[in-house]
């Protein structure tokens, strides 16, 4: 999987927000506010380019003191949300 072109993580009003940003156009109607874990996963997915559930689970377990089971649950929920918002592609 990879993040679709045009989605950018930026700070808006003190919150981390993923917004649709293409050709210098920012759409405030297409924004997704992210918490700390979601921000980390997004940054990791951007860094990896192509990512899998397993690669994000492994990165999350390395960065935070959480069980693999919890990490898999968080990553799966996050990927499902990204898919729902059409932010990623296979």
């Amino acid at each position: 999987m990879k993040i679709k072109e045009g989605f950018v993580l930026r700070e808006v009003c003190g919150d981390n927000v993923v917004c649709s940003e293409q050709l210098g156009h920012v759409h405030f109607g297409h924004m997704f506010v992210t918490n700390e874990t979601a921000t980390f996963l997004w940054q990791q997915a951007v860094k990896d380019g192509a990512f899998t559930t397993e690669s994000l689970v492994s990165a999350l377990c390395e960065a935070y003191d959480i069980s693999e089971e919890q990490a898999r649950k968080d990553v799966s929920a996050m990927i499902a949300k990204w898919k729902e918002l059409d932010m990623i592609e296979e």
């Binding site: 009003c13 940003e21 156009h25 759409h27 405030f28 109607g29």
Partner: protein, 141 residues
């Protein structure tokens, strides 16, 4: 996030050179902009004139997205298309962005300054004395 914070963030992005689409709120720009359903495209206000719809800081206490109805020197007067009375005042420095397009709920953008809409906006201003009745009819449609 509060409205003013979002607006100020949008202004910051416009000043950085981005075009920004912001969901519209309220009924003060009916029938040209439908708040709650449509969005407005904001750009840098490089050149503004009477008839333009702008985002401005007015009367030293609030932001509005209204149409410019007169410019005298540095002084600008605005009025909402959907308002029956009430005008706002500001200066050129208070105009933070110009609205060029309106997007419907499907994301289709329409030019606010097409020949048809510019004529429509002028007629709408002339019809101010009977705007109350026209808006009443529009809201029932």
């Amino acid at each position: 996030m509060k409205d003013n914070t979002i607006i100020e963030e949008a202004i910051r992005l416009v000043e950085e050179g981005h075009d920004v689409t912001l969901p519209a709120k309220g009924k003060s720009m009916l029938p040209f902009i439908v708040g709650g359903k449509e969005s407005i495209l904001l750009v840098k206000p490089d050149k503004i004139s009477v008839g333009d719809v702008v985002l401005a800081w007015v009367d030293d206490y609030r932001y509005v997205v209204h149409r410019i109805i007169s410019i005298k020197g540095d002084s600008i007067t605005l009025m909402g298309d959907g308002n029956l009375a009430g005008i706002e005042h500001c200066f050129f420095k208070d105009v933070k962005a110009k609205v060029t397009h309106v997007a419907d709920s499907k994301g289709h953008y329409r030019n606010l300054y097409s020949k048809k809409r510019v004529i429509g906006a002028k007629c709408w201003l002339w019809l101010l004395p009977i705007r109350r009745y026209l808006l009443g009819i529009y809201r029932r449609l």
